[in-house]
C-alpha cells in the first residue's frame, strides 16, 4: 500500500494538471484544483499513517521517511489552502485584469505541475532525481512568477531563473563529487541513492565529501534563499501571483532545505558533525543579519515578506547548525511553522494589496476598519512571524535558541537575539501602521470574499494549535525525523 502511494503521489498533481488542460471554464478549473489538492492531502495523511506503523518505505528512486513526510505534510496542507484561496483571489484578479480569462487553464496546470515537481523533490531518494526535480521546480515556477507579464514580473522571473540555475549547477556539481566519492567505495554496485550512500557514508573520503557538501550547500542554498545567494528571492516572492508566492515561500525554499539536510547527513557521517554544522551556522547568521536592514527599510509589503523568508531560512539553518536533538527538532518544527505562517501572511497581504491596489505599505492604512477579519488575520500572522508567544514560531525559535545555549555559542546567540528583536520591532511597526488608523480614500470597502478567508482561517487555526500544543502523532514524526538527522 505505502509503496504504491509512493508513485501515486507525484501522479496526482500531474494528472490534475493534464485534466485542467481540457477545460476553459473557471468554475470547473477551480473545482479540479481543490479536488486535486484534497486528494493529495488525503493520500499524504494515509501515507503518514503507513509510515508511522511501518517505518520508511522505498520504491525504485523514491523513498519516504519521517523526514520527507514532514515536508510532504506541509506541502499538502499549503496546496489545499492555496487552492481554496485561489477561488476568491482569481475572481478579484480577473475583475481588475491581472489575470486573463483565456489563459487560466495554463496557470492552473502550471501550479499543479509545480506541485508535482515539489512532490518528486521530497520523495526522491536518488540524488540525481532530486536535482532534476529541483531544476524542474525552477522551470515551472519561473513561468508562474512572470505570469502577470508586466515589466517587473518578467524581470523577477528572469533573475530567478538565472540565479537559481547558476546555483543549482553548483548543486549538481556537488552531487557528482559526492557520487564519485561513494562509487569509489561502493565499486561496481555504485548508485546515487541517498540511502545507499548513507549506508557507506562513514567510509567516504572526508576531504572530497567536504568539497562536495560545500558545492551542494551553495547550490541548494541558492534555491533556499540563504544569504548571500538570496538575490532572487525578494523579487520573485514579491512579483509572483499571491498564491504562487505562498507556495514559493511556504514550500519551495523548505524543499531546498530538505536537500541540504540530505547532504548534511552524508557530510556529518563522513567527516563528523562539526564541519557541516559550522558551515550552516555561518550561512544562517549571514542570512539573519543581511535580512534585517532590508526588512526595516522596506516599503513594499510583499518584498518585506520575501526578506522575512530570508531571515527565517537563516533561523532554520541556525537550528541545524547548532545541532543536537533540540536544535534539529526546533529547525524541523520551524520549517512547518514558518511555512504555514508565511503562507497565511502572503494570503492576508494579497487581499490587503488587492483592496488598496498598491503594495506600498505607507499607502495601506486602517485595514481594520474596511476589512476587520482580514486585518485581524494579518495582525495575527505578523505577530506570529515576529515571534510572539503563544504562536507556533515562538516555540521553534525558542528551541533553536535553547540549542545554541546548550552549545555555548554565545557570539551566534547574541547576534541572533539582537536581530530577532530588531526585526520584531520593525515588523510590528509596519503591521500596526497598516492595520490601525484611518483608512485612505483609495481603499475599497467591498465585503470580504469568503474563500480567501476560509483558507486563511484554516492556516491560522493550524498556526495557533501548533503554538499551544504539538499533536502526538506529529511529534512522533518530528522525533523520528530528528533521529534520521542527528544519528
Amino acid at each position: 500500500m505505502a509503496e504504491t502511494l509512493l508513485w501515486v503521489l507525484p501522479l496526482v498533481p500531474t494528472v490534475t494538471a493534464l485534466l485542467m488542460l481540457t477545460t476553459r471554464k473557471r468554475i470547473l478549473l477551480s473545482c479540479l484544483d481543490i479536488a486535486g489538492s484534497a486528494v493529495l492531502t488525503v493520500l499524504t495523511l494515509v501515507l503518514a499513517c503507513e509510515v508511522t506503523d511501518g517505518g520508511p518505505r522505498s520504491l525504485g528512486v523514491f523513498r519516504v521517511d519521517d523526514l520527507g513526510l514532514i515536508f510532504l505534510l506541509l506541502l499538502a496542507v499549503l496546496t489545499l489552502a492555496v487552492s481554496i484561496y485561489t477561488v476568491g483571489w482569481l475572481k478579484q484578479a480577473l475583475e481588475v485584469g491581472n489575470m486573463k480569462a483565456d489563459s487560466l487553464r495554463s496557470y492552473f496546470a502550471l501550479v499543479h505541475a509545480f506541485v508535482a515537481t515539489i512532490v518528486v523533490t521530497i520523495l526522491a531518494d536518488n540524488l540525481g532525481i532530486l536535482w532534476i526535480a529541483m531544476e524542474g521546480t525552477t522551470i515551472t515556477s519561473a513561468i508562474l512568477i512572470g505570469y502577470h507579464g508586466h515589466h517587473h514580473g518578467l524581470e523577477a522571473a528572469w533573475k530567478y531563473i538565472i540565479v537559481t540555475t547558476i546555483g543549482i549547477s553548483f548543486g549538481l556539481f556537488g552531487t557528482v563529487i559526492i557520487y564519485a566519492a561513494a562509487s569509489h567505495v561502493m565499486g561496481s554496485a555504485s548508485s546515487m541513492s541517498w540511502a545507499a550512500i548513507m549506508s557507506v557514508a562513514p567510509k567516504l573520503d572526508p576531504g572530497i565529501v567536504r568539497i562536495g557538501f560545500i558545492f551542494a550547500l551553495v547550490g541548494y542554498g541558492t534555491k533556499a534563499g540563504l544569504a548571500p545567494m538570496h538575490l532572487w528571492l525578494p523579487d520573485a516572492h514579491s512579483q509572483a501571483p499571491t498564491p504562487v508566492s505562498a507556495l514559493l515561500s511556504g514550500v519551495l525554499i523548505k524543499c531546498a532545505l530538505l536537500a541540504i539536510i540530505r547532504f548534511q547527513t552524508i557530510a556529518a557521517a563522513a567527516c563528523g558533525t562539526e564541519f557541516p554544522q559550522q558551515v550552516l551556522l555561518v550561512f544562517g547568521l549571514i542570512s539573519v543579519v543581511v535580512a534585517t536592514p532590508f526588512i526595516l527599510a522596506q516599503h513594499d509589503l510583499k518584498r518585506l515578506l520575501g526578506y522575512h523568508s530570508v531571515e527565517h531560512v537563516g533561523i532554520i539553518a541556525l537550528g541545524l547548525g547548532f545541532g543536537g536533538t533540540i536544535g534539529t527538532y526546533g529547525a524541523l518544527l520551524h520549517v512547518v511553522n514558518h511555512g504555514i505562517t508565511k503562507a497565511l501572511a502572503f494570503f492576508a497581504a494579497g487581499t490587503a494589496i488587492a483592496r488598496y491596489d498598491t503594495r506600498d505599505m505607507q499607502a495601506i492604512r486602517g485595514l481594520l476598519t474596511v476589512a476587520p477579519i482580514g486585518a485581524t488575520l494579518l495582525m495575527l500572522a505578523a505577530l506570529s512571524l515576529a515571534g510572539v508567544p503563544p504562536f507556533s514560531i515562538f516555540i521553534s525559535e525558542l528551541m533553536v535558541l535553547r540549542a545554541g545555549i546548550g552549545q555555548g555559542d554565545w557570539v551566534s546567540i547574541t547576534i541572533f537575539l539582537l536581530m530577532v528583536v530588531i526585526i520584531f520591532a520593525g515588523l510590528l511597526h509596519h503591521a500596526g501602521a497598516m492595520v490601525f488608523g484611518e483608512p485612505t480614500a483609495a481603499a475599497s470597502r467591498e465585503p470580504e470574499a469568503r474563500s480567501p478567508l476560509l483558507a486563511m482561517l484554516l492556516l491560522a487555526v493550524i498556526m495557533i494549535v501548533l503554538g499551544l500544543t504539538i499533536p502526538a502523532s506529529f511529534d512522533g514524526h518530528l522525533k523520528r525525523a530528528t533521529e534520521v538527522i542527528v544519528d
Binding site: 532534476i132 524542474g136 518578467l154 523577477a156 528572469w158 538565472i162 566519492a181 572530497i208
Partner: protein, 218 residues
C-alpha cells in the same frame, strides 16, 4: 585502445575544451560564442565516445550521442534562431570589463587545478587531467552567466557550465547513471526553452531587452 592513448586523448580534448571556454569568455559577438559552445559540446561528445570505446560502457555511447545531437546541434540552432528572430543588435554587454573577466577566468582555471589536487583519490587514472578541466569549465560557465547582461550570453554560459559538469562526471565516475544524465539533459533543454520564451515575451510585451530589466532593487 590502451590506457595511455586514452589518457592522452582525453587530456588533449581537455585542452581544446579549455580553449573553447576562453573563446566563450572572450567572445565579443554572440554568434561566435554560440559557435564556440557548440564546438565545446562536440568535444564533450568526442570525449564520451573515446571513453566508451575504452571502457566498453554502452551508456557512454548513448550519452555521447545525445550530447552530440542536443547540445552540439539543436540548442546552438535554437540560439541562432533566437538571434535571427530578435535581430540582436546588442551583443554581449559585460557587467565588468572583458579583460577583468578574462583575468578571472585564468584565476578560476588555476584554482581548479589546485582544487582537483585535493580530490586526488577519486580521480580515475584513465581520464588524467579531465577533473580540473571539468571544474574549470563549470566555474567559467557560471562566470559567463554572472558577468553578462544579455539573455543569450547567459544561456551560453549555462550550456558551458552543464558541459563542465558532464565532463567532470565522466572524469570521476565514467559518467552518472544513464537515466540521470538523460534527465539532466532534458532539464537543460526545458530551461533553454523557457528562457527563450521569456526572452521573446519580454521583447513582445514590454518591448525591452533582458539587459534593460533593472528596476527591482532594495
Amino acid at each position: 585502445m590502451n590506457i595511455a592513448t586514452v589518457h592522452s586523448i582525453i587530456d588533449d580534448l581537455g585542452a581544446l575544451l579549455l580553449f573553447t571556454m576562453i573563446l566563450i569568455v572572450a567572445a565579443s559577438q554572440i554568434s561566435r560564442a554560440i559557435y564556440a559552445v557548440a564546438t565545446q559540446s562536440l568535444f564533450i561528445a568526442l570525449a564520451g565516445a573515446v571513453l566508451a570505446t575504452a571502457t566498453g560502457n554502452v551508456d557512454l555511447w548513448v550519452i555521447a550521442g545525445i550530447t552530440l545531437i542536443v547540445k552540439a546541434m539543436v540548442l546552438p540552432w535554437l540560439l541562432h534562431w533566437v538571434v535571427r528572430r530578435m535581430d540582436v543588435k546588442r551583443e554581449v554587454e559585460p557587467v565588468i570589463p572583458d579583460m577583468a573577466t578574462l583575468a578571472l577566468a585564468v584565476v578560476i582555471v588555476v584554482m581548479s587545478f589546485h582544487l582537483s589536487a585535493s580530490l586526488g583519490s577519486v580521480r580515475q587514472s584513465i581520464t588524467g587531467n579531465a577533473l580540473p578541466v571539468g571544474i574549470a569549465l563549470t566555474l567559467n560557465g557560471v562566470l559567463v552567466m554572472a558577468t553578462r547582461k544579455t539573455a543569450l550570453s547567459q544561456m551560453v554560459g549555462l550550456f558551458a557550465a552543464e558541459n563542465g559538469i558532464f565532463f567532470t562526471a565522466m572524469a570521476v565516475t565514467e559518467g552518472m547513471p544513464l537515466i540521470i544524465e538523460i534527465g539532466v539533459i532534458l532539464d537543460v533543454i526545458l530551461a533553454a526553452l523557457v528562457m527563450t520564451i521569456m526572452v521573446l515575451r519580454v521583447r513582445s510585451t514590454v518591448d525591452a531587452d533582458i539587459a534593460d530589466l533593472d528596476r527591482l532593487r532594495g
